[in-house]
Amino acid sequence: MIGLGLPRGFLITLKNFVRPPVTEQYPDRHVGLLGAAKEAGMNPVHFLFKRPGDSIKAIAGLATVPVAVTQSSRFRGNEFTFYEDRCTACASCAKYCPLGIIEIASVPGQIDAQEGESYKLEVFDIDIGRCMFCGLCVEACPYDALHMGTDFERSKYVRDELVITKEELFAAPKRPSAFYRPQFEEKRFDPFQETIDDYHNAGRHERPSDEELKRKWVDER
């Protein structure tokens, strides 16, 4: 009954005891003097003399720095990234959503000589409180207008505020996830550092030049 099993087990526990922790503190990370100095971009001695108040706080364990959460660029988060200029109001996304939580209403817009008839988006609401971030709407969008976002903090006190409206979608920072968008991965786009503000750059093809467009739409017709 009594053997080496238990002491060997405790050795493993001891080994893990001295391992650095793998857990992340959230939303802020408490740092000591070294961490605080690193965050301020100074060496610790410098920091101690230049900012004694902050140093005492850091030594007391009260200094916090924001956590840089490491996520994959394919992370399917909320705050959908939406490019109005790419959207044709085709409603594929609304049809493909398993929960039917995307509401789209459109009216015929003006007729453009080059690009044909276009529809104007009146309503584009996503009831994100019921969304399960499956990404099927993004997969269905034929024009790369809708992308998953990379954010994950959206707590609200009222459920109605969980409905993302068209205006909110336009205003949200354009940090599209690389989910189902291999073109972002090819460009090594990092949604946690950069944004894609120009809608031309969000598509799956290179942006055509003006001559190419003229040749395609005017000369060849």
Binding site: G3, L6, S73, R76, C134, F179
Partner: protein, 370 residues
């Protein structure tokens, strides 16, 4: 002097932390001994099978994630195999390899959860659970790289997977596999030779082989009694016929054997993944939309496909009437069927072993109730 006792009925659950979800047991004790057990389930019923009847075949993938939520990739795989059989879809080879890798990773994660919680139920408060959760975290990070989600993956599509693995996935997978092997070694050192684990799990809740077969129990529970039944070997699906792996069997059929089989299987899964990495070939990961459209309309008929899930045979039965949604979907959930022997395992046992035995079945209420 014999102590005079009187049977007393106790309600355990549904909000009990050791019930792996919401599960209720009405247990009658006589002193420390269990004299009767009545399982009550259905608290986690979400009607997935009914919901599936009004969703298209691709949309249902998201529902299968939520059945057994600690092994969603395997649920995806079983469902997709049924759809492919029903609609006669020829999957893309690279997609098949990728979903095998994802499925085996998920099996390791699921077995780690089962082991961690089993030890938690034994009274090892925290330590083994935290170690196994730490390793599972690495696997979930790999899933995030593959498909952008950690638990509710929805990675598979009829004919393959939705997107190829990114470049940084392969080195991370290599590193992850080495870590997993190292941590399984650790786990075995501090648990498989641990005298306390021995004395608590060996010889408890022994189930005879015939009973297991008659109750159509599958998975690690069956293999712990010495029956060599693994669908990956008996009825190879996907490309398991091109993989050689050892089936780990134990003969004791007690709580320890069930734990041991899971740990060994996790180790075998690492071998399987390594073989998949060697054999994977470049190419598309899913058929083109001309071959497999977004809106699949399988011909009328029915199909059943089963895989060796982390808990046993996981099967999906689909009936099509030619429409865009199945006429009926039925899930052969291994958790539910493995639960049917609960009375045989518990009656006559001690109160202290109740949750250990329950944990050794490794069930997931999300899959039992669906």
């Amino acid at each position: 002097m014999a102590v005079k006792t009187q049977p007393v009925t106790v309600n355990l659950g549904p909000q009990h932390p050791s019930t792996h979800g919401v599960f209720r047991m009405r247990v009658m004790f006589d002193g420390e001994e269990i004299v009767d057990v009545e399982p009550v389930f259905g608290y986690l019923h979400r009607g997935s099978e009914k919901l599936a009847e009004e969703r298209t075949y691709t949309q249902i993938v998201t529902l299968t994630d939520r059945m057994d939520y600690v092994s969603s990739m395997l649920n995806n795989q079983a469902y997709i195999l049924a759809v492919e059989k029903l609609a006669g879809i020829e999957p893309s080879p690279r997609g098949v390899w990728l979903r095998m890798i994802a499925g085996e990773l998920q099996r390791i994660a699921s077995h780690l959860v089962a082991t961690g919680f089993l030890l938690q139920d034994l009274g090892a408060l925290g330590t083994p659970l935290i170690y196994s959760m730490r390793e599972r975290e690495n696997i979930l990070d790999l899933f995030e790289m593959l498909c952008g989600a950690r638990i509710t993956n929805s990675y598979l599509r009829p004919g393959g997977v939705f997107m190829d693995a990114p470049g940084e996935f392969w080195p991370a997978l290599d590193r992850g596999l080495d870590d997993i092997v190292r941590s399984i070694d650790d786990l075995e050192t501090y648990l498989s030779g641990n005298e306390i684990v021995f004395s608590r799990t060996k010889g408890t809740a022994v189930l005879p082989q015939e009973l297991l077969i008659n109750a159509s129990i599958t998975g690690p529970m069956l293999r712990a009694s010495g029956v060599d039944w693994d669908l990956r070997h008996r009825a190879p699906y996907d490309y398991y016929d091109r993989i050689s792996f050892e089936r780990k069997l134990h003969t004791a059929s007690d709580n320890y054997a069930r734990y041991w089989v899971r740990v060994q299987e996790a180790r075998e899964s690492v071998n399987i993944i390594r073989q998949c990495i060697d054999q994977i070939e470049p190419g598309p990961v899913r058929p083109s939309f001309d071959d497999v459209p977004r809106l699949i309309r399988p011909p009328s008929g029915d199909a059943y496909a089963a895989i060796e899930g982390s808990k046993g045979e996981l099967g999906f039965y689909l009936v099509s009437d030619g429409g865009i949604a199945p006429y009926r979907m039925h899930v052969r959930s291994s958790s539910l069927i493995n639960l049917t022997l609960l009375r045989d395992m518990l009656i006559g046992g001690q109160f202290g072993d109740l949750f250990v035995t329950f944990g050794s079945v490794d069930l997931n209420m999300g899959e039992v109730d669906r």
